[in-house]
Structures are given as structure tokens and as C-alpha cells.
Symmetry: D4
Subunit: 256 residues, 8 copies
């Protein structure tokens, strides 16, 4: 219910088409998201056409099937993250149109139209980081972005960044996926002029504390321009990068 | 040294103007940043005109004076962060053109030209977070951004966000500064369609562990679009927001 | 042994029915709970009719069967928590009158009479929190309370709280079950005038540290009225809420 | 703005006293708390007459004076917590009607009328816990509760609990304040039938980790009925206990 | 009230000297420690003549003076630990008979008679550990033990242990005080046949985490016979060593 | 080689029965423990007849079989701890004389003669702590002690301690085994006059952090006389208690 | 491309054999490691003939096979670490020339020529540390070092070090592998004059926190000369020891 | 006492010059370090001429003066670390020949002769790390090494490493001093072929946790050849580097 429909309601009251008490009741009983507060809820507006994202970890296959049955009837894109192999088998049987990426542990259908200003570049430190890289890549594509991935650019192989020149030039945001000491985020941020979103991974052992070492390293980056998401949170990094790449609705519209 | 100057060098060798050994020596002894690798160092290019930023904590007044003497002769903006009262007094006496913001613990001179696509909005949860808010605001302005600040929008006063509607509409990035349980970042991210940069603050006591509670809260945000910088790192958030607001050089140029 | 039986004993001594030495021996050899100290042990008094609660984790099926054999002969309600599937199968075979809730990992028989002043409302942030929600709900019902459960009221779906209006009005205590950043406890506490018992859950990954992020978030709530129980401790929250809902014995009796 | 005033508005529109567009504007521009959503905001209703509480830590004396100037003109009770000696001196000079409790680090004026069903009992383990005890006691009294305090009931002096019998009988909620190993909360909870709110304190040294040991001890209490607030958070415990003691508005009204 | 006085009471009732109701009241109103439960409270019995020990940290000088006024009238030994210089000055002025040990931060008067079976040996790793060593030594002596102290027996100077042969032979318990990596406890425990009580100290920096490294090292000792008290807890180690040295009351009496 | 055998050696040299060079070689080639240093190594002397203890965790069945083959030929008692079911089966097949305690995860053969001054009492908080209790009990018995075990004496069932009176009177050391909040160690230490050895267990969940809560609780015990061993370290507690119960060699001999 | 080949290139240009533009292109398109920067990359020079090391954890068998196919065609040594049993079986089937060490979890082929100045000595505290010892030993040998291993030299068996005299004399670096309290590193460092590289292992339980206790112990060593690598990082210790044993290229060449 | 003197002793006994009992006594009463075990104590031999190093933190000025009076009479070099300003003033007054470095917080006199094979290179990430750099540099020089220091080589200024080429070529060990995210150690280790000793510093704030972030980063370095010492432990790094630079005694002698 936006201001227009609200004005219409008042007009109907003024015309005697609706009783004042009925009109008051109608507003009072509206679901919250219909209230005027939604005016600042650009996000909700944005989400029209936005993929429905389901975090599958900790949900039973039964719950997931129920959610999918609900979603499948809409025409928006669908994305499930953290789908383990057993659940994926169950879901795929019931929803064969879903694409399953076993490495990324994602299932998805469709994608938003690409409206970004540039590309999202994903750099990773090592091949052990691939599951997180894939989750970020699948997510960013479903969210409507062009994505380039360059793997295995560890601190011991920085020269491979040279091959990334063109991709860096096209990027509006760079996702750096790294475990162990996570130094790559700092090194990359020192070389580029776009925001770097660090994704620490749980790759490592011992005093890596399942990604804490990389997390702290990225949070304390001495190079400006690094912000961080949760350990192994490829999806989260994709959302942030996507919001950067697309820009706010107002600017997107201005571009159109 | 880019490819052109390299070609020129080879031509001089071909013409006998330079001996092969001397040419080889010349390349070998070049500072690293002159090598072709610099081609992807857009950051460096960007930094022309970028303020020199000095982290004053842990540096003696003598060291800071030495650095300032070096910087003052250039015409770029200057920004010092984490300047305590005692150092500020010493530095102000020697460099009276520096503006001192005691709350933000910053000193600065000049600012970059504003080239952003929109504004940076800074929201804070409580008045105890003000020093970090101010550091972010001063930094973002020196970095060449329009900045709006709305304080004291805690979870218990979310309705004040309504007053922020216009600012939210103008924002290309939102910095959320919050201590204690840091829930504000999640709540805001659920309402907007631009990236939210969370700055956990050390405001709190006991099990806030000097900001760790807020940090973890923001890292685990169930709302998409939140990335995080270090505890109390107002400056870092400003750099990230600034990179988002301005966009990469290529796009900036395209806009011009 | 309360004051009355004690007086009776003294009277028997005064009447010569019992020798002084025998009477002294009788008191000295009483189990501790029979001593006068029990006068302040309202809890014990309360527990008459209170369900026997067994924490099954770490106990072998043999131990549990032994305990159940002991309990089954009494007519009080029985509640077992943290019963995994394997143990549940063994116990159900021997005690078919026990109701097994696989999601809650509980088994129970009977319930206390409902004597509360109102209802207990359980709100959860996401469907992954359901096992903890169920443990709290089963426990609260066995403890003699009316219970309403509203799931999936995450920070990104606060508007669903509107549907909870009536339940909130009926509630004397609200249990908020949330993992990840646990912000829901703060948000709810800002909207109601009854105590909020936060149950952080281990739902999440990476820097959620198995529920520590949610735990810290709730402990540092900027909204008054939140207290917290252990991670995933649905049962513990139910006990606290139950004590609030029923009030102390003296007041309950006054109500009757 | 409740449903009545909303109906009135519609009637005015129906009568032509207000133009439909103006009426729509009026709703759209209302502060959020005026919207119908406030219907579930019992807390806000409750807060009429509720003391304004200011957390002074991290706020400058200037900010606090500004807030106090704002509050002093209202006739509600005022409570400031975490006021150190220096700030207290400044505030007392400007607002001599404020009562300063140096041990509790509180300043307050007035109190809510006592409407609780019983008393709040505060038990502490040692005399080093007194500042937290006092903060809880002052807060609970300002919030309109009868309060009894019994100090120094450590695990090594449990027999003193006997002296607390009557107070325990009158209590609707018990606040247990304890540092070091914090065992008192468990021991007390095993003896009573009202909720125990544990306040771990930072009293201790070494592996007490400034209250973490007591916090964990209370969170893991093997006795049912314990919930916990932040370390040293006497005020927070008082709010929880106060909500328990008073009960929800509906029940209060029913009692009246 | 032991069984004898209880029997006497019953006899008085039997003789009609006391009314049954009055006798019942008399038992019901006894302080808890007078009840028969005290029969297993050997500690209490032991404490007759035991020094009163006051932990001064976190207590104001006023509180301490009040406690001392109370204690000074008894003829038992007195021990205060963690008395900082400022408080010591105030207390010494009012109670000049107290002996102040500035290094140990203790004040004491008198000591229990020495009834131990042997000596307590205190070994320390370095001279920085001296304050904790002194606290342990003063405490152990006031508790009635012969004490030998050998300092500076770090892992790099194990040969000095040779000089400790006779002391080791006389010891019934050995207190090992060590900071940094705390290896001394393990090394000593590998060489002796009496219990080793490890006292980790906060000596160190960086990753010693104020004694946590030494604490963990001692808890994980690969040599049998080491148990541990809190960081810097010289007093606590002295109590444990004293209980070992003296043995339980029954055995002490058998020795006499 | 003690001083007597050394003197004998010199005498043989003096008598010409052994050549000086051969005698020097004999000393030089002695294993280190045979050197005079053994004079302060009472432990080693003690270990004659002491059971060989093998920590089986992390050792392969092959390694364990090798060690057992070596040990089986001696006539000293043998004790293996942390033997999981699979290894136990392999070892039992090869060494049928070993007694396997599945709950304690121990295997042993024989025991030292009981030479202690009294008994070791083991108290546990709950039945989930039984594996650790059993490890302590088996170990203490193999080490030559009389042992009494009383289980399930949680803080909510302190009255059961009354049944422990006689055992407490006979005890020279008390082992308290408790998980969750570990308060039992403090409560027991407040009632007895012998050393309490706290064994925190990993029983619990969430913020028990696998025993850390109980560990910290015990380390911060406000009751004197508690020292602590590693989490779940029943064996370690048995060694400490055994050393206390038996006393140093010198005193043992004096008793004989 | 070193300075010689660069000079050659310039000479070819001078001779007209190569066009200046082509020469510039050739440099510009070289992979980074071919650039002159390699002049300070002694490591890279060293790596000629250096084994390719692959960290197998977190990589799928498919990825590993791909990498091995790539490596197998070169004639350099190959080393894989952290190869679990399942992957080892797959890889061994495809590459039968690889030697598999199941205890060390390594696979390797060939080794560098031994050019060290002495030997690497590996000491371990217990047999449970063997997997880490083996990883270090295999790695050090493949890296071209003479290696001596002495196991089971715990703090309780220091005398066995006597047997290590000759090995200590030959060692240029000593790797100490120890879990639990990790005291061995300090003890050894106090006895030798070569660098000690501590490898904390995850051997232990409870408060060993999977190797953190040993890690902290080694980091806080009171004996000079200890530096530390990650928990269980036998390979990393071998690399450090190898660099020490071989010395920098310049010195190696001087020796030749 | 080595085998020769032992043989001599036996011969004297054989000749009747010494009584067997006296000879036995002589061995038994030898200080431990005189025993044959000292044969492997190369360290002790090495320490002849080695500076006496005193860790001043936690020691009173009085203790330090006592130690210095003892040391000053020897002719060996002296080094004190962690001397704060107040102590330095006291010590300098009494021992004017000591050189005080206020930044490094060291005092020293003399130095060992330089016998290293090359130089020690110290690299630091930022000027805030200078105190630790200075402590390392002073220590390394007093320990008899040539030292080169290059500061401010952060990840954002890696090109400055080019200026370090010659120093890198001369180095036998490189100390990398870095706070914040500590990435420099990994980056440097990827470029050189000598051991890198990482010194994490407490420079930073928030989630740097006083150096823990840098410590973890260095421990998890993905580049081989990094080992780590304690946070801020410049002295410790200097000892390790010195041992590497000098090599074991045997090799040093072979070089001479």
C-alpha cells in the first residue's frame, strides 16, 4: 500500500464508498510490509525478480521440499546454498529443473538479468578454496552479474595477477577468497582501486582455527579498501559485490 | 616504465646510443614500481591527488613531525588518524593549517574533489559510538565524498530510520556504526539495497569483549549485503564506502 | 520432616513414648532433605507433581533404562531431553507409553496441570532453529504451560510479528530462539513489556562459533529485559519461562 | 495514533473537513511509533512513567548535560548508570536534585510507583560484588519495586541463606550477583521456586578472565531456572526482575 | 548443636522443663551451621584457630577496616591478601600489630601452630615470580607450616635443583611457581614423589596471555602428580599444600 | 646405582677386582637414571613396583602391542588409559590377563600394594561423568589405594553428601568429578579439611565449551583447598590423590 | 630471465637480429617470474631441482591427479603432504612410482641432492607424536638433508638425551615435536647451541585445545633459540630446518 | 667431570690414594652441571663470552641493581631488555657504562665478537613497529652479528624490497617484524632462500587482539620457511637469527 493507494482509500471514504470504521480496520489489519514504512524498503522493491535464497544447512529434506514447492510456483529465480549431497539427491528428484553444483553445494534455477555496471572478479589463493569460490560465483551469476574467476593466485604466485590485468580493469568489485594466513586480500587491495571483499576460508589446520587466522588477517588489513564477510561465506560476498556492481535503484534507473 | 619507454630503450640500443650492458643494468636497477607490473596498479594512479593517510597510534610525536614535514611540501590532502590529545597539541603547533577534530582524533588539511555518484550515509546506534562515527565522517569527506550522519538509531529506536528516508535514497553505501550487540547492521541491511559496511565499536562492557560481540554479530548477519571492517575502524569503513561511491577509474571516466 | 512432625516427635518424647536418645538419633540420621532446612526449599515442595527431567546425553541406554524403571513406578510426569534416535528406539521399546518427539529429541509422559497466569510465547528466527524450538515447546507444555510457537520471524521478516499481536498480549514470558547474529532477541525486547529469555542456537557457521556469536549478541542486548540461557538450551528456557508464568507458590496459592 | 484517532481521521475526511490527499500525507509523515504497529508495542505504553535510563559510559559530560537538560523538563523518573566520579561531580552541580550513589555509580531522581506482586531479592557472594549489587538495587527501586539485599552469601557461607527464608518467601524473582566461580547461582536455584537472574561479576583475577568464568558457570548451571545477563550488568538484571515482578500490563490491570 | 546437646534437649522435654513446641522452635530457628549437618563439616572444626583470611582486592579501605575491627577482637591469626600499597597504609595506621609484606601484598598477625608432617617447598622459575612466591610463603607460614623457598630454578638452570635435594627430601608438597611457558612444573614433577601444586604466573608478555600459556602448560603436564591453581594464586597453593602437609584431622590426632 | 653400590664399585677397584678404566666405562655407559642424580629422583625409586602407565590415545594397536610385549615380561602392574573399544579387542586377544573396563576405557593387570594412610574418595556430580569417575577409580586402585566412589551428588542433591560422612572421615584426598558449571568442587571444599582435586569433565554442551566452563569454575573456586587437573583427566587426579594418600617415601618408611 | 639473458637480448637488438618492438613485447609478455625481479628471488633459483610440494588436504582426488599428471613429466622430486588413505590409494594406482608413507601421510618421488652442512635432528616427546615426526623426516629427506630421528624423549625421560649426544653434535638444526605441555622445546633449547624449531602437536585432550597449549608453551619458551611453526606442521619445520642446514645460495657456492 | 677425570679418580682409588667411601662421596656431591651430562651441554660452552641477558620486566630496580652488581665484575657483555624509563634512570646512575636505547628499551655493555657467516637482515612493516625492530637490532649486535635494518616495507610498499637486494644477498637469516595482519612475513618468505623469523607485533587495535592476528597469520604462512617467536619478542628473534648466522660450534671451528 503506497501513498497512491492510501489517497485512493481516503477518496473512497470521502465519496462515502467506504465507511470510516471499515477503512481504519483495513489499515490496522494490513500486514506490516504493506504499511507506508515500505517506502524506505527499497530492498523489497529490489527483490521483485530477486532470487529466493534458501540456506539449506540445518533444514531437513522435508522442510526444503516444502519450501521448494512454495517457490517453484513463482517465476523468480531460485538459489539454495549449503546443500549437501544427500539432500541434493532428494531435491533433484522432485525438482529436476534445478541445476546442482556439487562443488559449490548450490542448486539454482534461472538468474536475474545482468544490470551491473561491470564485472565481479573472484580471486582465490589456492585450489583448496574452490568450494567457496564456486559458491560465490554461482551466487553472483544468479544475482545477475558477469563473473570472472582466477584461481590459485597465492602470495607465492603473485605474478599470475599479471594475467588478471584485463579482468581487474573490468571489475567493479573484487572478491578475494583465501584461507591459511589470508594475506592475499591485503596484497590485492594494495594494487587495485575497487572495493575488495575478503572471504576467509576454513582451509588450513592447527592455528588456522578453521578460518579465524584468515579472518583476523583480513580484518586487520593494512591496505585500505578491504571489508570482510563470514568464514566460507561465498554467498554473502556475492551479495555485497552484487550490490556494489549494480548500484542503488535510483542510479540504476538513471543509467537506463 | 611502460611498454613505450621500453621500446624506446630498445631502439636506443638498436641505434647504438646505449650499450646492451648498460640497458640491461638500467632495467635491473629500476625501482619495482617502475616496472610494467605498475600497469595494473590503478590504485597508485588513483592515489595521485589522494590524501596521504598517517596512522598516528604507536608513532612518537617526533616521527609524526618528520612525516608531516615531508608531506607538507606536497599539495595533496593530508589525513592523520588516531591522534591523541598530547600529539595533536605538538603537531598543531608546528602545522597550524591542520584541522583537528578532537572527538574523531583526526587532523587533516584539504580534501579530494567530490567525484562520487551519490552520498555516503553513516548511521550509528548510540551516542557512545560518536568518536568512531566522526572518524568515518572526517575520513569520507577528506576522501572526496558527500556525507550524511544520523546518530542514535538503536534497535530500540528504529522508527527514527523513517527520518533517514531521503538520505537512504541518496546513499550509494551505508556505514553502520554500532557496539554492544551490533544488531543495527542486520536491521538496516534488511531495509536497503546498497552495501552496508559494518563498523563494530568497542562500546560496551563485560561480554562485549571490547567489540568482539558486535564484530561477530555483524559477521553472522542473517541479512545479505553486510561486510565488516575492524573494530572501531571508522577510517577503514570510509575507504571502502568511498571506493564504492566513486566506482573504478574506468567507470568514473566514462561518467565524465 | 517439617515443624509439625518435629513437634509431634517432641510430644512423643514428652509423653515418654520415645526415649530422648532414640529421638536424637532419629533426627541425626535423617537424610538431609528431611531436615528443617527444607522449609526454605520451596522448590522441593513445588516439585511434588513436577516432572522428573533426565538429561540423556552422555548416559548409556542401560543407565537410562535403569532410571526409567525407577521413575515409571511413580505417577509424576516424566521428561527426557537430548535423546538421540538410537537411544529413543531402545527406550520406546521398553516404555511404549512415552511420547517421542524426534525433532525435539525429547521423550515424555504426562504433564503438569496448567496453573500459569498466561501463556509462554516462543519466537524463532529461522526454520533451522526448529529442534531447539521444539525442545522448549515440549518442555514448557510438560511443565504445565500453555504455549504458542511462531517460527521464522527473522530480522528480515519482522513484519510477521504483527501476526503475533494476540499471542504477545497473552504472554507472560517470551522465549526467543535465534542463531547466527541473534539480533531477534534485542528487536523483540524493544517491543514488549514481558521478560525475554534468549536462547542462542548453534545454527550458523564460521564465525558463529557454534552459537557464541548469538550468545554474545544476546548478552550485550541494548534493549532491556533480555536474559540468556546456554546455547541450544530450549529446556532451560522453558523452565525459566515456566517459573515466570506460574509465579511463586505463595502467589499461586493466593490466586487460587 | 491508535485505531480511534485513525477512525476519527477517516470521519473527518468523510465529513470533508480534511482533504484525502492531506490525510494520506498525514499518515505517511507520521513518525513510525505513531503508526498502528504501536499496538503491539506494549513496552512503549508501559514506558509512560517509566524512568529514562542513560548509560553514561563513553559519553562526555557535555553530552550527558545535554541529555539531562532534555529529560529534566519531563516529570518522569530519571536514572543514569555507569557515572564515574568526575562526571557525577559535573552533573550534580547542574542538577542538584539528582541522587548520587557513588558505589553503584548511579544518579537518579524519583521512582516509579511500586506495582509489583512481591519483592525482588538480591543475593551476593562477597563484599567485592557490592558495586554491582548496588546498581541492581538502585535500578530496581527506581523501576518501582520493593527490594531486599542480602550480601556475602558465598558458597562457604550457605548457612546464611537460612536468614533469608522470609525474603525468599516474599520474592518473585531473585538476582544472584557473584564473581570468581559464580557457583552461588546454581546453589540458590536448587533451593527456590522463582526465576534466578544471574549477574556474573568481574570480581576475581587470573583465569576468572574478568567475569568470563562466572558467566560460563551460570550459563551451564545444572540447576533449572537460571538465566543470565551480561557481566557486571546490575541494571539489566533489575529490568528483567522488574518485568517479572510486575507482570505484563494485562495481568497488572486484571489485578487492579 | 551436636548429638549430645540434642539429646539433652530431648531430655529436658521428657522432664517437662521445656515445652515440645518451644523445643521444635528452637531447632527450627537455629542457624544452619548449628544443625547436625555440621558433623561432616570437619573444615569448620579445623578452622577453630584457623586464620581468618580476607581477599582485599575490590574491597574499599572502609570495608576492610570494618572487617578488621571485627576480627581484631578474636585471638585467631589474621591474614589479608592482595592488599595494595594505599590500602596497606590505611590499615597499618589503624592496626599497627599487622605485619605488612609489600612484595607479597599481604598483611598478617600471628600464625597457626606448626602441626605438619614435613615442610612445604616452594620453587620458582624466575625472580619476576617473586610476588607470587612471597604470597605463597607468607600464607603457608601463617597456616602453620615450615616453608623452604628456592628461587630462580628455571628450565635453563635445572642443575640448581641439586642444591634442593635436602629440601625435596623434607617436603610433603612442592609448590612450583612459574610464568612464561611454565615448564618447570612438569620437570619437577618428573623428579619427585610428592604432589606438585603448579601456580602459573602472569609473568610474560604477548602470547603468554597474562598467564594462560603457563596455566595450559601445567594443566597438560605429561608428568603425573601435577595439579594447578589459578594464575598468580600463591595463597590458594599454600592452602592446598597446607592441607596435604597437615593431613586430615583424624590422622593428625592419630599422630599425636 | 645408589651410593652403596657406588662404594662397592670403588672397593672392587681398590681390591684390584676391577680395572679403573672398566669402572669408569661402567659409570659412563650407565643409563642416565642410574647416575647419582637419581639421589633426588625419589620418584624413580618410588616407581619400583609402580605400574607402567600407557596413554593409548593416538597410538596404533601395533605400537601398543609392542609396548605390551615389552611390559608383560616384567612383574610390575600395568595400566593402559584411553583404550577405545577397537584397540581393546586387539589387545585383549593378545594379552588375556589384562582386565578391561569399557566405561573407564582402561586395561590393567595387577596393582600396587595398598600403603596409603587412608582412602581416596571420589565424588561425581552426575551419571554422565561416570567414564571419568571410573578412570580415576581404576587408576587409584592400581596405584595401590583404597577407593570409595559416590556418584550423582550434584548441587541439586547436596543432601546425599550426608551419606558420605564416613567416607569423608576416612579420606585423605577427595576427587571431585563434575562437568557443566563444576560448582560441586567449591561446595565440597567448603565442607571438608582435606585437599580437593577437581576434575572438570567435558559433560555439557554449548557454552560449556567441552569442559572449559567447569575448568574455569574450579580454578576460580572461592573455597580454599581446590586444585585442578586437565579436563576429563581422571587418571591424573588419581596420581595426585595417590601421592597425597601415600605421602613421601621418607614418611612412609617412618610409618612402617 | 636473468641479467645475462637480458644482456643477450639487448645484444641481439643491437645486432639487428631482433626488432626493438619485438624485444619490448617479449619482456612485457613474460610471466612475472621471468622479469628481472627474479634477481632477488633467490628462492626461485633455489627451487630449480626443488621438489614440487602439494598440500593434499581439501583437494579432491581428481584435482590431485590433474596436478600429478602435470608434475610427473618433469624430472624434479615430488612431495605430497596430508594425503589420507583413500586419496593415497587412488594416486598410487595412477602413479606407482610414488612412495607412500601412511604414518606420515606423505607420498613422494625422488629427493634433492644432499648439500647441507650437517644433519637435521628430530626429537619427539612421545610415540603419539609419530605422524608429525614422520612428516618432518620424510620432508627433510626429500629436501636433501641427512636426518636423524630420536623418539620418546619426554620430560620424564630426559636421560635418553644422553644417547643423542652424537646426533646433537652433528646437527645444524633441531626439530622438537611435542604435544600436551610442549615443555621439551624449552628443555632442549637450554642444552644446545643450534636453532630449535618447535612443532606443537595436537596430541592431548581437554585443555590442550588441539595443540594450543603446546603452541603457547613453545612461543613463551624461557630458553633462547626456539622458534615455532604451526600445530602439526612437520613439513613446515622441515623447510625451515632445511634452509638453515643448507645456508643461502651464496654461502653454499662459497663452500663448493 | 669427564671420563678422563673419572678414570683418574678410579686410579687414585686403585692406588690407595683415596678411600672408596671418599671417592663415592665426591661423585655424589658434585654439582649437577659437573656431571658427564654436561658433555652435551654445548650451550654452556657457547655461553662462555656470551652476554648475560636480563629480562627486566617485573623485576624491581633493587633486584636489577643487585643482578648488575653481580654481573659488572665479569668481563662478559651485558644486555638488559624491557627496561622502562624509570628503571633505566636508576640503573644508568649506578652503572654509567651501560648504553641505554630508549626506543628499544634496552641497556647493554660490550658485544660478542662477530663470528657469523653473513648478516642478519631486519625488515619491518611500519614505523609503529620500531621499538621491536630496535630491540632485535640491539640484541643481534650484542650477540655478535652484523645487522642491516630496512623499515616500513609494508605490503603496500613491496617495491621498496628492491632496495634491499644487496642486504638480502648478504643475509643468512631475515627477521620480519610486522603487526596488524602480519602478511609481510609470507610475502618475504616467498622471495628469499634463507629462514624468515617472524616477529608479530602488538601494533594494531580491535581485532588485532594485541598481536594475535599477526601471530596467527605468520603461523599459517602459506610460504615455506617462516617460523615465529612470541609477540613483540625482538630479542628472541635475534637469538634465533644469531644461532643461524653463527652455526653450531663444530662448524664454526671448522671454518676457523
Amino acid at each position: 500500500m503506497n501513498r497512491d493507494t492510501l489517497t485512493t482509500l481516503f477518496k473512497q471514504v470521502a465519496l462515502g464508498e467506504i465507511e470510516p470504521e471499515d477503512a481504519a480496520e483495513r489499515i490496522a489489519s494490513l500486514p506490516f510490509e504493506e504499511l507506508d514504512f515500505a517506502k524506505i524498503d527499497h530492498h523489497r522493491q529490489l527483490r521483485r525478480g530477486f532470487p529466493e535464497v534458501v540456506f539449506a544447512e540445518g533444514k531437513s529434506s522435508e522442510h526444503l521440499l516444502g519450501i521448494l514447492d512454495h517457490l517453484a510456483s513463482r517465476d523468480t529465480p531460485i538459489l539454495l546454498t549449503r546443500v549437501d549431497a544427500a539432500k541434493a539427491e532428494v531435491l533433484a528428484a522432485a525438482h529436476p529443473t534445478l541445476t546442482h553444483n556439487a562443488l559449490a553445494r548450490t542448486m539454482h534455477r534461472g538468474a536475474m538479468p545482468a544490470t551491473g555496471r561491470g564485472e565481479i572478479l573472484i580471486l582465490s589463493a589456492g585450489t583448496s578454496d574452490l568450494p567457496v569460490v564456486e559458491e560465490a560465483a554461482v551466487s553472483a551469476r544468479v544475482l545477475g552479474n558477469e563473473v570472472t574467476v582466477i584461481n590459485d593466485v597465492g602470495v607465492a604466485g603473485l605474478h599470475r595477477l599479471a594475467a588478471a590485468r584485463d579482468a581487474i580493469r573490468r571489475a567493479t568489485a573484487i572478491i578475494v577468497v583465501a584461507g591459511m594466513e589470508g594475506a592475499l586480500a591485503s596484497v590485492v587491495a594494495g594494487l587495485v582501486d575497487v572495493p575488495v571483499i575478503g572471504v576467509p576460508t576454513s582451509v588450513g589446520y592447527g592455528a588456522s582455527f578453521n578460518g579465524v587466522a584468515a579472518l583476523l588477517s583480513m580484518l586487520n588489513s593494512c591496505a585500505g579498501g578491504v571489508s570482510v564477510v563470514n568464514i566460507d561465506n561465498g554467498f554473502g560476498a556475492a551479495v555485497v559485490a552484487s550490490l556494489i556492481n549494480r548500484g542503488p535503484a535510483a542510479l540504476r534507473e538513471a543509467r537506463e
